[in-house]
């Protein structure tokens, strides 16, 4: 026997999850644009419904095109499996709703995407789930915030927009000491730049809308489970370890061990909340995933050039990027993100809000919109857009000021981007 060898990342990005279509021989992933799947007979139907056979019943629960994306992302992340959702926010909600009930508590990084902050700070609170926000790099704050009813620790691999690097090994250790999992939003890093499960995270999700899709064409999310967290040993997750009346009194952990979380998330979360991904969306995101290993190095390479340019520009007060020596997480980034700290970063323009306005309106190549991770370069002013519902205090905690501008560096010629920024910066200072 030859020695064991796993396929490389690039190969998995192109092949994992899909064999050529057995019906037609189609090499590309077919788009199974169907709501439902014909049963062979009544016995087959009953077996599928009762989870005695593998297969598809209804596209809200699973779909062959969507399943290719799910398996491919699970392969790239090193998880046991994945569930694709209608958006990244749907993935976050699915994770939380699968793990806990009213009366539970979450400890979360204070440096989150505004939408995630809203969900935790306001919306889930209405349903009896409270969140304590902490400064992500203050490990003692994570520890101090844990309560007996805490069920989850949560942060972004790279905080938004301050680019706080989450110390996944350290925060995971705190989580595991408290017998709860660590969930990370890995959108900014993608599995190409960092594989959080190898660092100790238990669950992760992506807004697949961003770098995974990579072309700004489809909204989607993917929730992935490492399968390493022992729900039974924790004793804190009744949703996974006790009989569930909504599915023949199934004890998900007893039924499936490593797959318990995903089983409940699919069989309850997708069934009841219904935030599934459409097959066409999965196909579009798969097109992006197939070139992730080519695009991410290029995104990072261009980002480094732009960062260097901005750091030396007189109209720029500060550039916030973990690869710069003055970033508070510089050493951590070198350790946890050796392939690069992503392609989204912030800087502070001199002249405050008026300068920011003039800068954004003078750009020609950068598009002013609320997204990141597109093949095209993007710009936004967080204080008035993505994070506008946050209080001044919360904004400060997240490292956002009136002059903060966030860039997402695309795949254009880096020199063209630098020229565009230079022109707009000069315009901003007039």
């Amino acid at each position: 026997m030859a020695g064991p060898k796993y396929p490389g990342f690039d190969t998995l990005a192109l092949h994992a999850g899909q064999s050529p279509d057995p019906a037609t021989g189609s090499r590309a992933v077919p788009i199974y644009q169907t709501t439902s799947f014909v049963f062979r007979d009544t016995e087959h139907a009953a077996s599928l419904f009762n989870m005695e056979r593998a297969g598809h019943v209804y596209s809200r629960i699973s779909n062959p095109t969507v399943a290719v994306l799910e398996e491919r992302i699970a392969a790239l992340e090193g998880g046991v499996g994945a569930i694709a959702t209608a958006s990244g926010q749907a993935a976050l909600h699915l994770a939380i709703a699968t793990l806990m009930d009213a009366g539970s508590h979450i400890v979360a990084s204070g440096s989150l995407y505004g939408g995630s902050h809203n969900l935790l700070a306001y919306t889930l609170k209405r349903f009896g789930i409270e969140t304590t926000f902490v400064t992500p790099r203050k490990l003692e704050d994570w520890q101090r915030a844990v309560r007996p009813n805490t069920r989850l620790l949560f942060g972004e691999t790279l905080g938004n927009p301050g680019l706080d690097v989450l110390d996944i090994p350290a925060v995971a250790e705190i989580a595991h000491r408290a017998k709860v999992p660590l969930l990370v939003d890995a959108t900014f890093t993608t599995p190409y730049l960092q594989q959080p499960f190898k660092l100790g995270a238990d669950l992760l999700y992506h807004s697949a809308t961003k770098f995974l899709g990579g072309h700004g064409t489809a909204i989607g999310g993917v929730l992935v489970d490492a399968g390493r967290f022992d729900w039974e040993a924790s004793g804190k997750f009744a949703t996974l370890t006790e009989a569930y009346a909504g599915f023949h009194n199934m004890d998900f952990e007893e039924e499936s061990g490593t797959r318990a979380f995903l089983l409940r998330a699919r069989r309850e979360g997708l069934r009841d909340f219904g935030a599934c991904m459409a097959p066409m969306t999965a196909f579009q995101i798969l097109q992006g995933v197939e070139t992730l290993h080519l695009r991410m190095p290029r995104h990072v390479e261009a980002t480094r050039k732009v960062v260097q340019f901005l750091a030396a520009h007189p109209a720029v007060a500060k550039v916030i990027y973990p690869e710069l020596a003055d970033h508070p997480d510089h050493a951590l980034a070198k350790r946890l993100l050796p392939l690069g700290a992503g392609a989204v970063f912030s800087f502070e323009i001199r002249g405050g809000r008026p300068a920011g306005k003039a800068f954004i309106e003078s750009l020609r190549i950068f598009s002013h919109l609320a997204n990141v991770g597109d093949a095209k370069s993007l710009v936004i002013h967080p204080a008035t857009t993505t994070h506008y519902r946050m209080s001044d205090e919360d904004l400060k905690k997240a490292g956002i000021t009136a002059g903060t501008v966030r860039l997402s560096i695309g795949l254009e010629d880096p020199q063209d981007l630098i020229d565009d920024l230079d022109r707009a910066l000069r315009a901003s200072q007039k």
């Binding site: 989870m51 593998a54 046991v80």
Partner: protein, 266 residues
């Protein structure tokens, strides 16, 4: 359900049904380093189709207390004590890999307790490579890599999982990472050292994967020749992890062999 055997807790998945003395019993015995849920779909089916199901965690695996048993005959004897604890006079045994040797040994030495045996991915002798044994003995992750990669058909990492959204390699790795140190080595050594000296008289059925790298179909030939009348189903696309790689084909074969008592074909 939890049973007490030798003063230790034994976990048996019953598909959420209480044991019923009027029903036939089928016992599922997992392979090296794994647990009862490796038979997830198949064991659930039988539990909901009129059978008593005991999908076991061997000692030191899953939810059963350790330590692991170190020889196949010890596992077979333990299995009989499990049947005693469950008040099952006789059972059909379904084994996978190491579990097939337990089923064979039990059928040979405790014939009155065994109705029939189904052997999924088997070989005799079940020789484990020195590299695999050595890595497992040292508790090196390489042993998990070998288990994962050789434990699936070559197409698995490049193809789709019949179970939507699941990544078979990742699932195997996650299961192995939950093992206590030394358990995988103990299992592999038990399989490697096993010597079959008896004879099996009950009906036997082989379910083999054509792409199996750990126990290729030709390695089952010696055992097939020693069990007169044994039937075989060869699943074209599957490797060693047949229950995950070809769940419906395995279930259909088991249904034919166990539930209908008819000739499963060859």
């Amino acid at each position: 359900m939890k049973l007490q055997v030798d003063g230790r807790a034994v976990f048996a998945y019953t598909a959420n049904h209480p044991l019923d003395a009027s029903r036939r019993t089928v016992v599922f015995i997992h392979g090296a380093g794994l647990d009862h849920s490796w038979f997830g779909l198949q064991s659930r089916y039988f539990g909901y189709h009129g059978w008593n199901v005991l999908a076991l965690d061997l000692p030191g695996h899953g939810r059963s207390e350790g330590p692991p048993l170190t020889t196949v005959p010890a596992m077979a004897d333990w299995l009989v004590r499990v049947l005693d604890a469950a008040k099952a006079a006789k059972a059909a045994l379904v084994g996978h890999s190491l579990g097939t040797l337990v089923a064979v040994d039990c059928a040979a030495r405790h014939a009155v307790r065994v109705e029939r045996i189904a052997l999924i991915a088997t070989a005799y002798p079940m020789k484990v490579s020195d590299a695999f044994l050595d890595a497992a003995k040292r508790n090196e992750y390489t042993a998990f890599d070998m288990h994962t990669i050789w434990g699936h058909a070559p197409r698995v990492p490049l193809g789709g999982n019949p179970n939507p959204g699941m990544w078979m390699y990742g699932d195997t790795q996650a299961r192995l990472e939950r093992l206590a140190p030394g358990v995988l080595y103990s299992d592999l050594k038990a399989a490697n050292d096993y010597v079959f000296a008896g004879s099996v008289k009950c009906p036997a059925f082989f379910i083999l994967g054509k792409r199996d790298m750990m126990t290729p179909p030709r390695a089952a030939q010696t055992l097939q020749e020693q069990i007169p009348g044994a039937q075989t189903v060869l699943i074209d696309t599957a490797g060693h992890s047949l229950m995950a790689e070809a769940p419906d084909a395995v279930l259909d074969a088991l249904v034919q062999f166990l539930a209908r008592n008819s000739d499963p074909g060859s």
